[in-house]
C-alpha cells in the first residue's frame, strides 16, 4: 500500500531555541482518515507547516505519496491540499476569484477552474456567495471557502488544521459528512488535527497523539478505545431516589435525586447492572456516557495520569471546559 505521508525523524527548533518537534516519525497510508491530536503547542501546526513548506524543518525527511518535499518539491506539493487554522485568503477578493486564482497556481487554466469551482462551491453551500467579497462571509463560510480552495486541484492528500474550530454544531456535522464523502468516494486521504475529541472518534480510523513535540501514541482508533479500562455512565431516573443502594460489582454514586453515575469496568457489561436496578425497583429513563471516552485517554496520555485515575477523578465540570 502506498504511503500518503511519511515523516522520518522530523525535528524543528525555532530561532528562540524552542524545540517544537523532537524527531517525530509518522506514517499515514493512502485512503486513511487520520486524526492528529494534541494539546495546544504540542507541535501539530508545526508539523503541518513543515509538510506544506511554510515552516522550515531543522532536520529529518518528509515525503508525500513518495515524493520528498526537498528533492521532489513540485510533485509533492501537487499531491497536497491544506486547510490552515487561520483564515489566509485575501479579504478583498471575491469567493470564486480566490478559488480560481488558487487553481491557476496549480496550472489549471481559468475557464477550467471556473467550471470546477462550481462543483465545490455548491457542495459546500457557497455557490450563492461566489461573487461576494470574502471578508463579508461568516466564520463558517470562510472555513468552507478554505476547504473548497484546498480541493480545487484535486489533491490526493488533504490536511485540515482544526477545520471545525468555532463552527456551530449543525455546520460541523455537515462538514463531517462532506469529509467522509470525499474520503470514501474520491479516495482522498485525510489528516485532520482537532481539539474536539468527538470529532476524531466519529471520523477517523487511525490516530496519532502528539505531546511536547513527540508522538506518544500512534494506532487505530479501535485499539486506542480498547485501552480504556472502564467507562462511566450517567443514568437518568424516572422517580427520585433518597439513598443509592449497594450494587454488587459496580461503583455507583448519586449525582442528584434524579440521576446516578455508574463505573463499568472493561468487559463487565451492563446486563447485571440492569438486573440489580430492577431488583431495587429503580426505573431508568435514559442512559448516556458521562463524557467522551476518548477524552479520558487523551488526558491520560498527555498528562501521565493513569486512565482509571483520570476517569474517577475528573468531574463532569472539568470536562465541560475542554468540550466545544
Amino acid at each position: 500500500m502506498t504511503k500518503a505521508l511519511e515523516i522520518k525523524n522530523l525535528q524543528k527548533s525555532y530561532d528562540n531555541g524552542f524545540e517544537a518537534l523532537k524527531g517525530i516519525n509518522l506514517e499515514v497510508q493512502e485512503g486513511d482518515f487520520y486524526a492528529l491530536l494534541g494539546p495546544n503547542g504540542a507541535g501539530k501546526s508545526t508539523t503541518i507547516g513543515i509538510i506544506s513548506s511554510l515552516v522550515r524543518k531543522s532536520s529529518g525527511h518528509v515525503s508525500v505519496f513518495g515524493y520528498d518535499i526537498d528533492s521532489d518539491m513540485v510533485k509533492a506539493k501537487r499531491m497536497l491540499g491544506v486547510v490552515p487554522q487561520e483564515f489566509n485568503f485575501n479579504q478583498f477578493e471575491k469567493v470564486q476569484d480566490i478559488i480560481v486564482t488558487q487553481a491557476g497556481y496549480y496550472g489549471i487554466p481559468a475557464a477550467e477552474a471556473r467550471k470546477r469551482s462550481e462543483k465545490y462551491l455548491k457542495q459546500l453551500g457557497l455557490w450563492d456567495k461566489r461573487n461576494n467579497v470574502s471578508r463579508m462571509l461568516s466564520g463558517g463560510m470562510k472555513r468552507r471557502l478554505m476547504i473548497a480552495r484546498a480541493l480545487i486541484h484535486k489533491p490526493k492528500l488533504l490536511i485540515l488544521d482544526e477545520p471545525t474550530a468555532g463552527v456551530d454544531i449543525e455546520l460541523r456535522r455537515s462538514l463531517w459528512d462532506f469529509l467522509r464523502e470525499i474520503n470514501e468516494q474520491e479516495g482522498t486521504t485525510i489528516i485532520l488535527t482537532t481539539h474536539y475529541l468527538e470529532e476524531a472518534e466519529q471520523l477517523c480510523r487511525n490516530i496519532g497523539i502528539i505531546d511536547k513535540g513527540e508522538i506518544v501514541e500512534n494506532t487505530s482508533m479501535k485499539n486506542l478505545l480498547g485501552k480504556l479500562q472502564q467507562e462511566s455512565f450517567v443514568l437518568d431516573l424516572r422517580e427520585p431516589v433518597a439513598d443509592v443502594p449497594k450494587f454488587a460489582g459496580y461503583t455507583v454514586r448519586k449525582v442528584d435525586d434524579l440521576s446516578i453515575e455508574v463505573d463499568v469496568a472493561k468487559n463487565q457489561g451492563v446486563n447485571d447492572l440492569f438486573r440489580q436496578l430492577s431488583d431495587y425497583s429503580i426505573s431508568v429513563a435514559s442512559m448516556r456516557n458521562k463524557s467522551n471516552r476518548l477524552e479520558e485517554l487523551f488526558v491520560s496520555l498527555t498528562t501521565d495520569t493513569p486512565v482509571e485515575k483520570s476517569v474517577s477523578e475528573n468531574s463532569g465540570e472539568e470536562k465541560g471546559e475542554s468540550q466545544p
Binding site: 513548506s53 497556481y105 496549480y106 496550472g107
Partner: protein, 259 residues
C-alpha cells in the same frame, strides 16, 4: 501538461491578479498620479515655467514633461509591488502561493510584471496629459520604450525587495519617502544637471535615476544630454540582474515568509 505550461498559467494568474487589483482600486492607484501630475504641469510648466525660460535647450514645459512621466513610472511600479506583496503577506494570503508548486522565479516575474504594467499605465496617462500642454513628438521610439520598460522593471523589483523586508505597513512607506523621492527630485526631473555648480553636478552623476530620466528624455526629445545612452542601459540592466538575483535569494531562504 508540461512544466512550462503549468508555469505559464501560474504566471498569468499572478500577473492578471495584479492588474485586477490596481484596476479595482483605481481611486487609490490611478487617480492620484493623474491629479498630482496635472498640478505639476499647471504650476511648474505653465505658471512658473514661463518665467524660467529655457532648460537644456527646450522651453521648460517641454523639458519637464518627460521627467514627470518618468517620475510617475518609478513611483507607481515600485509602490504597486510593495503594497500588493506586503498586503498579501500581512493577510497571510501569500501562503496560497507558498504552498503551491509555483517556482520562485514565476512568483517574482508575476509580481514584477504587474508593477511594470501599473508603471507603464500611469506613464501613458501622464504622457497623454502632457500632450495637452506641449506638442508631443517621440524622436527615438525604441530608446523611449526600452528606457521606460527597464526603469519600471528595476523599481518593481525594488518594491518587491522592500515588501519582503517590511514587517509593518510603515516599512513600505519609508523607502519611497526617504530614498525614492529625494533621488527622483534630484535626478534631473525638474532641471538639467548642467545648470548645477560643482561639486553638485558631479555628485548628481552618482544618482542612478539621473541616467534613466536622461535616457528617456533623450528618447522623447532627441536631445543629447551628454550622458551615454548605452552606458545608461548597461547600468539599468546590471541593476535589474542584481536585484532579481537578490529577490530570488530572499524567496529561496524564505526571508519574512517561512518560519
Amino acid at each position: 501538461m508540461s512544466e512550462w505550461k503549468y508555469n505559464l498559467v501560474a504566471f498569468n494568474t499572478i500577473f492578471s491578479r495584479e492588474i485586477r487589483r490596481f484596476m479595482r482600486i483605481w481611486p487609490q492607484t490611478l487617480l492620484p498620479p493623474v491629479i498630482t501630475m496635472t498640478l505639476y504641469f499647471v504650476i511648474f510648466g505653465a505658471v512658473i515655467g514661463s518665467r524660467v525660460g529655457e532648460m537644456g535647450g527646450f522651453d521648460y514645459m517641454t523639458f519637464v514633461v518627460p521627467g514627470l512621466v518618468m517620475m510617475s513610472v518609478i513611483t507607481n511600479s515600485f509602490t504597486n509591488v510593495a503594497s500588493s506583496f506586503f498586503s498579501n503577506k500581512f493577510q497571510k494570503s501569500i501562503e496560497e502561493l507558498l504552498v503551491s508548486p509555483v517556482p520562485n522565479w514565476v512568483i517574482l516575474a508575476g509580481y514584477t510584471m504587474g508593477g511594470v504594467v501599473r508603471g507603464l499605465y500611469v506613464g501613458v496617462l501622464v504622457m497623454l496629459l502632457g500632450a495637452f500642454f506641449i506638442e508631443l513628438q517621440i524622436h527615438h521610439v525604441l530608446v523611449t520604450l526600452l528606457a521606460v520598460f527597464l526603469t519600471a522593471t528595476l523599481f518593481a523589483l525594488g518594491g518587491f525587495i522592500n515588501a519582503i523586508f517590511a514587517g509593518k505597513f510603515d516599512d513600505i512607506a519609508i523607502i519611497p519617502t526617504f530614498v525614492l523621492t529625494p533621488l527622483t527630485y534630484l535626478g534631473g526631473v525638474f532641471y538639467s544637471v548642467d545648470v548645477l555648480p560643482e561639486p553638485w553636478r558631479q555628485l548628481s552623476m552618482l544618482n542612478p535615476i539621473l541616467y534613466q530620466v536622461n535616457a528617456f528624455r533623450y528618447g522623447i526629445l532627441g536631445q543629447d544630454s551628454g550622458i551615454s545612452i548605452g552606458w545608461a542601459f548597461a547600468v539599468m540592466t546590471l541593476a535589474i540582474v542584481i536585484l532579481a538575483v537578490w529577490a530570488l535569494h530572499l524567496l529561496r531562504v524564505g526571508k519574512g515568509l517561512r518560519s
